[in-house]
């Protein structure tokens, strides 16, 4: 097993809930509550979970775009949160993020070529003469045309903008790309094109992805390992094949049973979850999932399950496994 590229250890991120005239902190949203993920070079780690489960917050704290509350993030053995700001800034090109919303993540007043090339100049990764060629190369790699370089973002469709966002990250030759639901704002046919672009780039450039999604079929198509989040905690991580063949955590089972299967003979029993997602500011005691779990026993409400190694690449947080 090779050395991890990104090692997230017991990461916590709490957002204060403020209210009242004095803006006092009255509570906390535990958006990320004790999560560990190890990502090896060249792999694609998929992070799935319902809306509000804290996927984006994991992605952002993993590259220190926001501050953490507790825990460590090491990139190639370097503790990101211990780096002084200037050092961190120099490391930034290696750690890129692709945003969920292709509209708001591009500055409307900056031409595409400048948006993609400015970081190259800023970090001295290309000279002024080279930079235009580098930008043209990456544009064509991402399926955009050379005449797009002088245009403004508002002249592009959502899918094209997402390509611009990808090009902007790629031109820096990153080692890790955190892709935060990069296709969820796009329509289905465009989604497939972008996903294939991700795949191709991985093959040609040996990229490592932390791929955030709530779409299990996309994750199955793209990822080699998958983590399932529920209310800020990791329910289960496993290799893609293990997870989709035999989910262990009841929440994973429920998620998978909701995905339509192309082969009717392989009918899975459908697990319907009761109730709604609990309020993340006031999560249930013990196992956070016990209020909706069809298999819950008394112990689940009292004791928080350890995130345990259960053989191979599988980790699960459930008393019943």
């Amino acid at each position: 097993m090779s050395e991890p590229l990104l090692d997230i250890r017991r990461l916590k991120k709490y957002f204060p809930i403020k209210s009242g005239l004095l803006n006092r902190t009255v509570g906390q949203v535990k958006a990320v509550d004790d999560i560990s993920i190890t990502i090896r070079p060249g792999e694609t780690f998929g992070l799935v979970g319902e809306s509000g489960s804290g996927k984006s917050t994991v992605g952002r704290t993993a590259i220190r775009l926001t501050d953490k509350t507790e825990g460590e993030v090491a990139f190639k053995g370097v503790d990101l949160y211990a780096l002084p700001p200037q050092e961190l800034r120099k490391l930034r090109p290696k750690l890129q993020l692709i945003f969920q919303d292709p509209y708001s993540s591009l500055n409307p007043r900056v031409r595409v070529g400048d948006a993609i090339g400015e970081a190259l100049l800023e970090h001295g990764l290309a000279s002024k003469d080279e930079v235009r060629d580098r930008v043209l190369d990456v544009l064509s790699l991402c399926g955009l045309s050379s005449y797009h370089i002088d245009r403004f973002p508002h002249e592009f469709s959502g899918g094209q903008r997402q390509r611009i966002g990808i090009a902007r990250a790629l031109v820096l030759n990153p080692e890790l790309i955190v892709a935060d639901e990069p296709v969820s704002a796009l329509d289905v046919s465009i989604q497939a094109q972008i996903i294939n672009l991700f795949r191709r780039l991985q093959e040609t450039n040996g990229l490592t992805y932390l791929f955030i999604s709530h779409d299990l079929s996309v994750v199955e198509h793209l990822c080699s390992r998958v983590g399932v989040m529920y209310l800020g905690s990791m329910a289960e991580t496993a290799s893609r094949d293990d997870l989709f063949r035999e989910p262990l955590h009841p929440y994973t089972k429920a998620l998978l049973s909701a995905v339509p299967i192309p082969i009717p003979k392989l009918k899975r029993e459908r697990i319907v979850l009761k109730g709604d997602i609990p309020n993340p500011a006031n999560p249930p005691s013990g196992c956070k999932f016990h209020t909706r779990c069809p298999f819950a026993v008394a112990r689940c409400a009292e004791e928080r399950p350890e995130f345990r190694h259960v053989g191979g690449e599988r980790y699960v947080a459930c008393h019943l496994v």
Partner: protein, 310 residues
């Protein structure tokens, strides 16, 4: 603040070339502005007002302060299109001269208050913390006092301190900027706060861009539309405030003419009832300028800053 003294890195040879200017947001905005009839009418009136006031007096055979006792209070005639005043001076010439002063005061105080307000507001919004606290508390303090009474008090103080009349024009500019900056600072701060949180600013962080580049390349250009709108709407208010102050004898003093003190000079029943040529022209100028500037500013706002639409 060393980030600011370095100037604009935006001037670096851009990777994208600028020949396709037609497609920029600015070009789009201009096209839409040209289609807005009301705003264009306002813009034309403002431009005419400036042109007439600044160029007109050059073609006038009269000077603003030459006194002709024989020509006192003549109604409009072929020689004096808008008549003459109590000292036999040509009203048209004086209205144009007054326009120079009033528009200059309006423009200069706008520039100063927009500069002060946007600088302080941007610092407060971008750096937050203690700078934000100090700037905004001072601003709040000024905002709690209604600006007109405050101007009256300050204007009265000026008279008390015997400021020479020819300097009063500059002091009035300073006064107007002094009461106007907090409102501007507050708007700019709000915009900077919301721009800071926009995803493209986070993207700039992810790319590892320097603080200077983030500020000058990404944040400030997005602030410019708001500043243009604020500036244009501010001129009207400044012209009006100057007129009010001068009308009450607390602003610019005669013999320097302004629209406000010209009306003040006609401030008695006989002039009001029987010599409307003394007060209608300056009054109309104030009215037309303020309305036209505001129409133009509203048009700019619709075009540049759709969020702010009422």
């Amino acid at each position: 603040m060393s980030a600011i003294s370095g100037g604009l890195p935006a001037a670096d040879t851009p990777i994208a070339r600028k020949e396709s200017v037609r497609t920029s947001l600015w070009a789009l905005a201009l096209r839409r502005l040209l289609q807005n009839k009301l705003a264009m009418a306002g813009g034309i009136v403002v431009a005419l007002m400036f042109a007439i006031c600044f160029i007109g007096p050059l073609f006038s055979p009269y000077t603003d302060n030459k006194i002709h006792m024989a020509l006192m209070n003549k109604p409009p005639n072929w020689k004096h299109w808008l008549g003459t005043d109590a000292l036999g001076r040509d009203v048209l010439t004086r209205v144009m001269q007054a326009g120079r002063i009033s528009l200059t005061v309006g423009l200069a105080s706008m520039v100063l208050s927009v500069f002060l307000g946007s600088l302080l507001g941007a610092i407060a919004g971008y750096y937050r913390g203690i700078a934000d606290q100090i700037i905004m508390r001072i601003g709040d303090l000024l905002l709690t006092v209604p600006s007109l009474p405050l101007l009256f008090i300050l204007g009265a103080l000026l008279s008390e301190w015997k400021v020479p009349p020819e300097d009063r024009m500059y002091i009035v500019m300073l006064l107007l900027s002094f009461v106007n900056w907090p409102g501007i600072a507050r708007m700019v701060r709000g915009e900077v706060l919301s721009l800071r949180e926009r995803e493209f600013m986070q993207a700039a962080t992810v790319l590892g861009l320097s603080a200077r580049r983030k500020l000058f390349r990404h944040l400030l250009p997005n602030l410019v539309p708001l500043l243009i709108v604020i500036a244009s709407l501010n001129i009207g208010g400044a012209v009006l405030s100057e007129s009010v102050l001068s009308f009450f004898g607390l602003g610019v003093m005669p013999p320097t003419p302004t629209w406000g003190n010209m009306i003040d000079a006609a401030n008695n029943l006989i002039d009001f009832q029987q010599r409307p040529w003394l007060w209608i022209p300056p009054g109309f100028c104030i009215f037309a300028t303020v309305i036209a500037v505001n129409l133009f500013g509203d048009g700019l706002r619709d075009v540049l800053d759709p969020k702010q639409k009422r």
